[in-house]
Subunit: 506 residues, 2 copies
C-alpha cells in the first residue's frame, strides 16, 4: 500500500542539511561531502535535470556505476519530484532500450564508461542524455530552479525499479516516496538508530538493496561510504574506519571473510545485513564464531528492500531464519489450506506501507495483490511459533517431482554444507516419469573423480530420496547476477548444453 | 497537518507483542508487564470499553492518576479506534463537566480516588462510568471483540487534549494517530533509538508530555517505567535501574538534583528532556557540570509534544537554546516585517505531520493556521544562524506553575464572573518553588474588607488549586489600551510597585 497523495514531509535532504550542515554525508574514494556540500551539489544537479527535462513529465533514467553523481542525481530528482529509473548496466543495449521505452524515460544520466551503451540504447528514442560529469562538476546555481519542490509528497512515485524477474520480461516496480520513507523508518526501528552510525554501500545503486541505503542515510542524517564496486579490501578498510551498518549478499561476505581471516573485527560494526535466502548457514555460523554481527535479511523490490531481518543477537539461536518482520511490515504464510500453522510452509505474503504501488502497466496492482492489500511474493517459506520467517525458496524455482514439492534452495544448502563445495545451484529438468527432477551444478575444490560418490552419500544422509539430484555436474563457476543472485535461466542453459553434449557422446 | 484517512499501519502494540512478547513493556511500583502481558491486558480492557461504549461513537474520557490501567485504557481505545480524552483531575468538577460535554465523552474511566469527582462532573450527562480497577482486574476475554480494529488509520482522531487557550475556555486539540506516530518517529530520529532504551514517565499522562511517552515506547517496542506521581527518589532509583530516556519539567529536575547531590549519574542515562522555555540556564549549566545529559525541549500540545530538542552534546555551546527542530517538524519565525533574520525575534510557527487536526468546534483549523499549513503557536522566539531555536516568551501571558500551564485569561474570566468585580487582570510573578505564580488585580465595587475572602471562595469553587492567585490586589482601574486590551506590562509594573511597597512596610 502506498501513502495517499497529500501527506507531505519536509524534504529530507533539506532537513538533514539544515540541522547537520557540517556532518559528513558522503564519502567516495578519498573525497568527502558534508550535508551542506551534498545539499549544494544536489541543488546544482536539480537545476541541470530540471532544465534537461523541460516541460516533459517523463522519468529520469540513471545508467551509471556507483559514484557521487549517482547520489546527486537521486536527491536532485527528489527535489524536482521527478521519478528515477535506475538501470542495470550489465544488460544489453536492447534490454536497456526496452526499459527506457517501457518507463518513458526522457532524461538519461550516464557516466563516462557507459556513453556508447547509452547512445545505442537511446537510438531513436526522444531522450536527452546528461553526462554524469556535468552533474558532478556543476558550480553555478541558476537564479531560479524550475519545478523545485520544497516538500516531499509521500504518495508520489519516486522510482521505477526493474525486478530481474526469474522468468520472462523484467517488471518495473513503482516505488513511492512513502515506500522509501516507511522502509527507512522500519529499518531504523528494527536495527536501531544512532547519530554516529555510518552506512557502507557497495552494492549497485541500481538495485533496491543499494538504492535504499541512500534513503536510510539521508532520512537518518547519516553518512554513506559509497564504493564503486565490491572489493573486499575496501570494505574491510571502510569498516575499520568506522562504518557501522553494512549491506551485502552472501558471496561478498564470503570474500570478506577469506580476505580478513581470523583477525578481529571492530566493535563499532553493528549490523551486517546479508540478503538472499540462499545464505548458507555455515556462513552465518562462521560469522558468529568470528564475532561479526551478521543480520540475515529477506527483502524484495516490491517491498522496497528489507521485509524481515534477523538481528545478530538472535542469529545464535536461529541461524537458518531471516528474522522477524520490520515493525511496519506485516508478513503472513498462506498454505493451500489457508493460513499456515507455525512450521508449515506456504506462500509468503506481505502488507504495509513499504509495499510498492504496482508494476508499470498494472497500476491498479491487480497482479499479485489481494483485495485487502496482501502482496503475494511468490516466495515460499514458513514462520516458527515466535514469528521468525524461514525462506524456503522462490516459488518460480519450485520443482514438483511426483507430486512432491522440491525446493532447489534446500538442496543447494545441503550441497554447500559439504566442505569441498564452493558453490552449488539446482534446477528442475523435465522428466517423463516424475514431471520434473532436480539436477545440480557444483563448484568443487577436491578431486573431481571422487565428487559424485562423495556428494551422493552426503545428500543421502541429509535429504529425502526424491530430493536427491539425478545428476550432479561440476562447473568452474556458476552464473550469478551483480547482486549475487543465482541466474537459474543461465544455469539451466549451461546444464542443458552439457547434457546435450554428453547425450550426443561429445 | 494530519495524515489523510486511508494510510494504515499495523497496530503498534500488536507489532511489538508479536516481535517482542517477552520484552518488558511496563513497570509500575514493583509490578512488571511484558509486551505479551500488555497485549493481553489491553485486549481485556478493549472488550470492556467496547461493551460500555455500545453503538455510540462518543469519546472515552480518562480521569485517573498515572497507573497501569491508564496505559491499558489508552492502548485499548486505540484497538477499538475510539478517541480518548485524558482529563486533568486537578480541575474542579465544573471544569471537567464542561470538557466532558464539549468532547461528547460517553464512557469515563475513573480510578478509585476520583470516583466522587467523576460522579459530580458526570451529573446529568449520558456517560457510563467504568472503574479503573475493573479494567485492571479483567481476566476473561470475551468471545468476540466488538469493533476491534486490527490496523491503525493514521488519519483518524486518537485523542482530544485540552489546552487552556489564552482567551478563557480551554480548547480541545484533536490529535490523530498519525500525529502521535510521526511525533514518536521524529523523536526517535532526533534522540536516537536503541533496543535497550527505557522510558521513564513521571509526568501526568493527561498532559501531552506524559501521554506521548506511551506512544514513543510502544512504537519503538521499548519499556515504560511509569510513576504514579513525581518523587525525586523514585526517579533516581528508576534511572539507577536502567531508565535511559527521561522527560521532566524544570522544577522536577531541580528537585532531583537537590536529592541526588553530587553523586555520579549512571552512564546508561542518555537523554533528560526538559520541557518549558522557563528552564533557568543555571539549571542547564548545573546539569552539564554533573554530567547529566540534559536536553531542553520546546513542545506544545498542538504539535503533539516535542517540536525542538537541544541534544546534550549541543547544550555546552548553546545552553539557552531549545535546540533544532525534530526532523519531521518545520519551524519558522515570522517578525512583523515577514520572515525573521537569524537572531530576530518573532512569532514561532510550526508545520509538519505532527501538527494537530484543529480544535474541537474549529475542525477546519481556521484558527491560527495559515493557508499553507503553518500553525501560529503564539509563542515568541528567534533562531540563530545555525537554526537553533530560542524561545523568548511562551504565549504572551502564559504562567507555568509547577509544570502546569496557567492562563491568565481563564482566571480573569472567573474573577469577572463575580457580581462585585468590575474588571480583572492576572499576571505571573516569579516564584522560587513553582517557577511562576498567578497574581490578580481587581476593580471591586463592594466593601473592600470583604473582597479577598469573597474572591478566594469564588475562585476555589471554580478553579483548580494551582490556578488560584497567590494575591489579589484591588485597584481603582486597570491599564487598558484604547481598544480595551489589557496592558499587561503596565499592570505588571503597577503590581510590582505595590508589592514592593508592602514588602518595605510602606
Amino acid at each position: 500500500m502506498t501513502a495517499p497523495a497529500g501527506l507531505q514531509l519536509p524534504n529530507w535532504l533539506d532537513a538533514a542539511a539544515l540541522s547537520h550542515p557540517m556532518k559528513r554525508a558522503l564519502s567516495f574514494a578519498n573525497n568527502h561531502w558534508t550535508y551542506a556540500d551534498l545539499h549544494r551539489s544536489t541543488s546544482l544537479a536539480a537545476a541541470i535535470l530540471a532544465d534537461a527535462r523541460g516541460q516533459e513529465a517523463g522519468r529520469i533514467g540513471i545508467l551509471s556505476a556507483n559514484r557521487p553523481g549517482f547520489v546527486f542525481a537521486v536527491h536532485a530528482a527528489t527535489r524536482i519530484a521527478a521519478p528515477i529509473v535506475p538501470l542495470n548496466w550489465r544488460q544489453t543495449s536492447e534490454e536497456i532500450a526496452w526499459q527506457l521505452r517501457n518507463s518513458t524515460v526522457r532524461v538519461l544520466v550516464v557516466d563516462d564508461e557507459r556513453v556508447d551503451l547509452a547512445s545505442r540504447a537511446c537510438a531513436g528514442l526522444p531522450i536527452t542524455i546528461v553526462a554524469m560529469k556535468d552533474l558532478e562538476r556543476a558550480s553555478v546555481l541558476p537564479k531560479s530552479l524550475n519545478g523545485e519542490e520544497p516538500r516531499i509528497d509521500l504518495g508520489q512515485e519516486a522510482a521505477v525499479i526493474y525486478t530481474s524477474g526469474t522468468s520472462g520480461r523484467p517488471k518495473g516496480a513503482r516505488i513511492s516516496y512513502g515506500n522509501l520513507w516507511f522502509s527507512a523508518i522500519g529499518s531504523a526501528l528494527h536495527l536501531g538508530h544512532r547519530s554516529d552510525d555510518v552506512w557502507l554501500a557497495a552494492m549497485p545503486l541500481f538495485h533496491v538493496g543499494g538504492l535504499s541505503i541512500l534513503f536510510r542515510a539521508v532520512i537518518g542524517a547519516l553518512p554513506v561510504v559509497l564504493q564503486k564496486r565490491f572489493d573486499p579490501e575496501s570494505m574491510i578498510s571502510a569498516i575499520a574506519e568506522g562504518a557501522t551498518l553494512v549491506s551485502v549478499v552472501p558471496f561478498m561476505l564470503q570474500r570478506m571473510l577469506e580476505v580478513h581471516g581470523d583477525a578481529r573485527w571492530p566493535a563499532s560494526l553493528r549490523r551486517v545485513l546479508v540478503g538472499g535466502s540462499s545464505t548458507p548457514p555455515s556462513l552465518i555460523e562462521e560469522c558468529l564464531r568470528l564475532g561479526i554481527p551478521v543480520a540475515p535479511t529477506y527483502g524484495l523490490t516490491e517491498a522496497t528492500s528489507q521485509a524481515t531481518t534477523l538481528l545478530p543477537e538472535e542469529a545464535v539461536s536461529k541461524p537458518f531464519s531471516s528474522g522477524l518482520p520490520l515493525p511496519l511490515t506485516e508478513v503472513r504464510i498462506i498454505a493451500s489450506s489457508g493460513a499456515a500453522s507455525p512450521g508449515e510452509s506456504g506462500s509468503i505474503e506481505i502488507r504495509g506501507p513499504t509495499l510498492f504501488a504496482g508494476y508499470l502497466g498494472d497500476e491498479d496492482r491487480s497482479a499479485g495483490i489481494t483485495a485487502d492489500g496482501w502482496f503475494q511474493t511468490g516466495d515460499v517459506g514458513y514462520m516458527d511459533d515466535e514469528g521468525f520467517l524461514y525462506v524456503v525458496d522462490r516459488r518460480d524455482d519450485l520443482i514438483i517431482s511426483g507430486g512432491e514439492n522440491v525446493y532447489p534452495a534446500e538442496i543447494e544448502r545441503v550441497l554447500r554444507g559439504h566442505p569441498s563445495v564452493v558453490d552449488a545451484g539446482v534446477i528442475g529438468v523435465k522428466d517423463g516419469d516424475w514431471g520434473s527432477r532436480p539436477v545440480a551444478a557444483v563448484v568443487w575444490r577436491g578431486d573431481p573423480e571422487t565428487a559424485a560418490a562423495n556428494l551422493l552419500r552426503h545428500c543421502e544422509e541429509r535429504l529425502a530420496g526424491y530430493k536427491i539430484p539425478d545428476h550432479i555436474l561440476l562447473l568452474p563457476e556458476l552464473p550469478r547476477s551483480t547482486s549475487g543472485k543465482l541466474l537459474r535461466r543461465e544455469l539451466r542453459a549451461q546444464i542443458a548444453s552439457i547434457e546435450e553434449m554428453s547425450a550426443t557422446g561429445n
